[in-house]
């Protein structure tokens, strides 16, 4: 299908392409490999000149050091809870609203949708300070609720699911269900949801990764060391012990592995979904 390339030169050109792509892949995965090298050696080995370039045998020691310094599993649990609850609620709230915007006409529809899309363009940071003031007024500073609720206003999710439902769920199907006596919620639950599974799984990974990697908001709103998320705990690990790099890198490794594994498993569907959204959205 490489119509750009004349037949004669296909082989050498393909080879060049592979070489460049492999180099790019190496740059892309190098930080992960080097993180492992640092996390499995002692800090002295890393500080040596030249540094040790191979995997060492000190991983467990470094991991133990991390566990002694920060409440790693506590913050991991907090992160898992926040990310999962956020994801499930975003999927429900957004798909319900997207269904309404895609398939129903009602007074105010255009204005409401335009407001939502308009706010998608605004930088989130505009809201951070008032959100913090709001959270301290209602006494939620330092709680995990303060992380979940603002994340539910995910306008992108509605925008994206609406497009999918509009094109992917035929009106005839909904009409047929209506004639059979299916109400609004039954149409949503039994017809729309099963039909938009690919879109939902993309949004699920998007929301989960977003919540897992969020930094500025947890940094602002969590002040209790017992309720940190992984990213904030990781940054603290870095502050307190800047010299013990092998320990810090063990922490980085422990925090990165779960997400990379999950992503690699779901990568195909996710990337397909991401491109679909981007190309349609343009």
């Amino acid at each position: 299908m490489t119509a750009v390339v004349p037949r004669r030169s296909r082989r050498p050109k393909g080879l060049t392409a592979h070489i460049v792509l492999v180099l790019a892949v190496l740059i892309s995965v190098f930080p992960f490999a080097w993180t492992i090298v640092m996390a499995t050696n002692t800090t002295e080995d890393i500080y040596k000149s030249p540094p040790k370039l191979t995997f060492g045998s000190h991983l467990l020691e470094n991991v133990r050091h991390v566990l002694d310094t920060i409440d790693f599993f506590g913050s991991m649990l907090n992160t898992v809870v926040v990310a999962s609850v956020t994801t499930v609620l975003v999927l429900f709230v957004d798909s319900l609203a997207a269904f309404v915007f895609a398939k129903f006409d009602f007074p105010g529809r255009r204005v409401l949708f335009a407001t939502l899309v308009g706010f998608m363009m605004l930088p989130l940071q505009l809201a951070v300070l008032p959100q913090f003031i709001l959270m301290s007024d209602i006494g939620w500073v330092g709680t995990l609720k303060a992380l979940v609720l603002p994340a539910l206003a995910n306008a992108f999710g509605i925008f994206w699911l609406r497009q999918y439902i509009e094109n992917g769920v035929p009106d005839e199907l909904l009409d047929a269900a209506r004639i059979d006596g299916a109400g609004f919620f039954r149409q949503y639950w039994n017809i729309v949801l099963p039909m938009i599974k690919p879109a939902l799984s993309f949004l699920a990974i998007y929301a989960f990764v977003g919540a897992w990697n969020d930094y500025i908001w947890p940094l602002v709103v969590l002040n209790d060391p017992a309720h940190l998320t992984l990213q904030v705990a990781l940054a603290q690990l870095h502050v307190g012990h800047t010299t013990d790099y092998s320990m810090v890198m063990a922490g980085v490794l422990m925090a990165s592995v779960p997400l990379v594994v999950v992503f690699t498993i779901f990568a195909r569907g996710f990337i397909a979904g991401a491109t679909e959204g981007a190309v349609q959205g343009s």
Partner: protein, 294 residues
Amino acid sequence: MLSHWRQYLAISPFFLIFGVFSLFPVFYSLYLAFQRWDGMGTVQFVGLDQFRFLLDDPVFWLSIRNTLAIWVLSTVPTLFGALVLATLLHSVRRFKGFYRIALYIPNVTSIVAVSIFFGAVFSNNFGLVNAILGTVGISPVPWLSNPWLIKLVIALLMTWMWTGYNMIIYLAGLQAIPTQIYEAARLDGAGPIRTFFQITMPIMRPIILFTVIISTINGLQSFSEPQVLFGSNAANPNLGGPGQAGLTTLLYFYQSAFVNNDYGYGAAIVWAFFVLIMVLVVVNWRVVQRGRKS
């Protein structure tokens, strides 16, 4: 109106949360930008004072210059690299899926982890980069203390994170172009370079526009990178690294609002910054659009 109660009920959870946690805060921060408030005492209306102070604040302008420099240093190589990689990936047949996933992975890792990693690798004294330079006889480079090298390291980090993301988007655009167009061009005797500039680029323009706008919005919001690399110590007068060379506008906002508890000034910074982003988005949009007419 009443006959639509189910629809209104179904969208109400979103709009309630959206109203309380997005809509109201955005307008409230605009209100705050005209007040003086430390979060505890009384709120005092000061009109345009915060903005007047902002215009004369050298640190604010420094943070704007830093942000723009980091943005240019990261966006240009990111988008160019992404276009090259997407074109190459489009031309190969084998291992396509593997390349896509391996090149996308940087985008799903956390900025905090990556920032710590870059801090270790570019460390002035012990970093891998300086160690490698040392073996070929080059004396250590002060990556994390020279004002321009600080920006370069942050820009490299962002380039590493975002090239794969943009590549995927370009690739989707390339795959949507019908192959017949290319066959026709080849019959007319157009070479690969000419085909690229006269067929691929014009068709890709809307997608390139999309990535330019997303990169402007994302690239100007650099905060975590310098915060983790340099600013973690809240009382640090050199927030943003030596000479505050990595002090981005959002980091300055964070410092003003949450470290100095100057809520009014924090709100003014973030609103002024928003206006800047909008201006740049419009300028970028104009530039990319103008190419279309010629």
